[in-house]
Symmetry: C2
């Protein structure tokens, strides 16, 4: 029997702030048993209720530095004095266990990862128009007018770099966008270039 | 609003005899409004019940030869003295009308089409194993033992050429295979490389 189980890859969701990538990521992880989350490593202290290995992998500055030296981070960044990184060994372990790995990240982080030559499927998520993005940022009610203006400017420069990525999912209705992402994953795992020994398996089955 | 309407392409289903490509093709065409069939052109006379433009486009040998000279056929073949061909202008007209075009063909025909540099998505359909393919050919009851042996040999040489194509869909349960093909179409139309003016549209919306 031909099985696609060994054909696992990294799925990167990229979206401007307000694009809806967190909601989509959570829904895909909840629905698809063979997709797992790439938990970020950080030197930040856990906040109330955060679980090590679930929300983040909380590590010391020493361990973080060691992992940088070993080349384990596909990307890392300093945010307000805390370090955050995406661990290659973490992702490889999940893949070896037969899982796709899902990651949501900004454009810069995604470009860093692609620069490492990782086998990744990149999905850019975008609301249908700027006016809808603006409406959603306003409706969230978490940002000041200035922050929203800043986010819209960032969105423009992120969209400028969309050609680096594979797929565009329009987040008009979130349920459709979730299904689109799942469909892209299911479609990508059927790519012949990813499959090995098709003939052996066909005749061995 | 970003629309994917202009992003139409040719979808080629390829399968060994008994692979189930006719059933899958018919189901996809019945379910998806924006996918149309690439009707073959032939010099063969219509059989009882066959409708011109639906089952085939029935044309004279003169017209067929003229179309060959004009380079209109993406592929053509002589089968038992009758000519059959896939018309580029037919497909382009459908695409200009906002439709994907679906075609089912053998490996040789698919390779001829790809050689013309057409923007096509190629999907190879295969039963899960040779023993299942054999069972299905026997169950059909339309072929002699010798013909079945011949078909199985052909299948082997077709599978040898699978690397020329984009996707592999395993036809274990036909309903799943139909959904897989539809999912590949929906996923392919989200490829950023196919999309134009994303930014203009986002800001124009």
């Amino acid at each position: 029997m031909i099985s696609l189980d060994k054909n696992k890859f990294l799925i990167i969701l990229i979206a401007p702030s307000g694009g809806g990538k967190t909601t989509i990521r959570q829904a895909v992880l909840a629905r698809e048993d063979d997709v797992e989350y790439s938990v970020s490593f950080t030197t930040r202290k856990p906040r109330e209720g955060e679980v090590d290995g679930v929300d983040y992998c909380f590590i010391s500055l020493e361990e973080f530095t060691e992992r940088i030296e070993q080349g384990d981070f596909l990307e890392h960044a300093n945010v307000h004095g805390n370090l955050y990184g995406t661990s290659h060994s973490f992702i490889k372990n999940k893949m070896n266990a037969g899982k796709h790995v899902l990651l949501d990240i900004d454009v810069q982080g995604a470009k860093q990862i692609l620069g490492k030559g990782v086998n990744a499927v990149t999905i850019f998520i975008l609301p249908p128009s700027e006016s809808i993005l603006k409406k959603r940022l306003n409706r969230r009610g978490t940002d000041t007018k200035e922050v929203i203006e800043h986010r819209l400017k960032n969105a423009a420069s992120e969209i400028d770099q969309i050609r680096h990525f594979d797929y565009l999912v329009i987040n008009d209705k979130v349920e459709d966008a979730i299904k689109d992402v799942i469909c892209i994953i299911r479609s990508e795992e059927k790519k012949i270039e990813r499959l090995e020994n098709i003939k052996d398996i066909f005749y061995g089955g």
